[in-house]
């Protein structure tokens, strides 16, 4: 049993720990979004959720033993002198995949914007209900029906 578990960990968790980390983070965030009563706590959950996804994407772009996807000065000069880069000069194993970074830049921006808007709306809710607890807000709304 122990042996099996160790084998499982070795095969599925250690080499793929990035996915485990993101899934656990995501579960925390989602749980907060669904179950928390306080609106701000929901938003914190949302932030965690989105961060988890960003983590996931960025981890896709990682290559072992590669650097940032920016050409170094020497390489750049070399290419400028040659006029055109060739695959000898640029070894693609040496550079991390740039696409996930770009995508996540977008996702971060979207996340920030959503969060900002959500905070603004929760401020408005606080302004008119004087509370941020969902059940208390619903209590206030119950007798009136419409307003």
């Amino acid at each position: 049993m122990e042996f099996l578990a160790a084998g499982f960990i070795e095969e599925n968790i250690v080499p793929k720990f990035n996915y485990w980390v993101y899934v656990i983070l995501m579960m925390i965030g989602l749980f907060a979004m669904i179950t928390k009563n306080n609106l701000i706590k929901k938003l914190i959950g949302m932030a965690i959720f989105q961060t988890a996804i960003i983590l996931f994407y960025v981890s896709i772009g990682v290559k072992a033993e590669s650097g940032i996807p920016i050409l170094g000065h020497e390489q750049h000069h070399e290419i400028v002198e040659e006029g055109r880069a060739s695959s000898e000069v640029i070894k693609k194993e040496k550079f991390a995949n740039p696409l996930p970074h770009v995508l996540m830049l977008t996702a971060i921006v979207v996340g920030v914007s959503t969060l900002g808007l959500a905070l603004a709306i929760s401020q408005r809710i606080y302004g008119s209900f004087n509370t941020l607890e969902e059940d208390e807000i619903l209590d206030q709304l119950r007798p009136g029906g419409h307003d």
């Binding site: 033993e65 050409l71 640029i90 995949n97 740039p98 921006v109 914007s113 808007l117 408005r124």
Partner: protein, 251 residues
């Protein structure tokens, strides 16, 4: 509710983890995403096509420039959305003290003095980040956030009214809109010169250098546009959130 949420979360988590079985391991250089044609193209050809060493910037501002334009629009929406939701126009707002004396009634002298010294440095560095995005990590978003942060810092130290005189609400909105107008307008310029939308090579006739350089220059232009929008909206979000939309004296 808690139990239901817990079960739902566990199911989703299990679903997501179940898929990792056939995912590449951490850092696997041979994974389809890393090995794929698109990624290889970006790494190998960026320098040839755009003369920009920073592949992230090139992908962001050129290959996927259309995406980035909408990204800027998202920020813009967040900004005017927050104003639309939160801002209360009317008498209370205008009655707030707005004279020069408001400048002095907030904040400590040391804090204000330090702030006056630091803000220009931050702004200078922000401009560097924007301009140097082609060669090092950086670009319009990063630089714009720094610029916005410098205004926020100023508002924190010297009070919102003081900051408002330098970046009023109206001005912030105009700058934000101008940023996207620069970005999308640049794309339309390409369109008018006969290329597709955002096809920077068609701007070659009016820009120095060859077609690839035209791409490189154009990236700088759109990054500047992004920076405009981000700067203004960062500050607008701060000022609205911190005063519940009344834009009086802030925190």
């Amino acid at each position: 509710m808690k139990l239901f949420g817990f079960i739902a979360v566990i199911i989703v988590g299990a679903l997501l983890l179940a898929a990792t079985g056939d995912f590449p391991a951490w850092g696997d250089a041979g994974s389809p995403a890393s090995q794929g044609q698109v990624s290889s193209f970006y790494i190998e050809q960026t320098i040839n096509e755009t003369k920009v060493p920073n592949m992230v910037t090139a992908v962001l501002a050129d290959f996927r420039g259309y995406d980035t334009m909408f990204e800027t629009v998202v920020i813009f929406i967040a900004g005017i959305g927050i104003i639309a939701v939160l801002r209360t126009f009317g008498d209370q707002a205008s009655k707030a003290p707005d004279g020069p004396e408001a400048d002095n009634d907030s904040g400590d002298l040391i804090v204000r003095t330090t702030c006056h010294m630091v803000v220009p440095l931050i702004q200078l560095f922000a401009l560097y980040v924007i301009a140097h995005g082609h060669h090092s990590p950086g670009g319009g978003f990063q630089g714009g956030v720094m610029l916005g942060a410098s205004y926020i810092l100023f508002a924190l130290a010297c009070g919102l009214p003081a900051a408002k005189r330098r970046m009023g609400e109206r001005r912030a909105i105009i700058i934000a809109a101008a940023g996207i107008i620069i970005y999308a307008g640049w794309g339309v310029a390409c369109l008018l010169l006969g290329g597709n939308f955002l096809d920077y090579t068609s701007l070659d006739p009016i820009l120095p250098g060859d077609e690839q350089m035209a791409r490189s220059h154009s990236m700088l232009v759109v990054e500047i546009g992004v920076a405009f929008t981000v700067t203004a909206i960062m500050f607008a979000i701060y000022s609205n959130l911190s005063t519940r939309g009344r834009l009086e004296k802030g925190l």
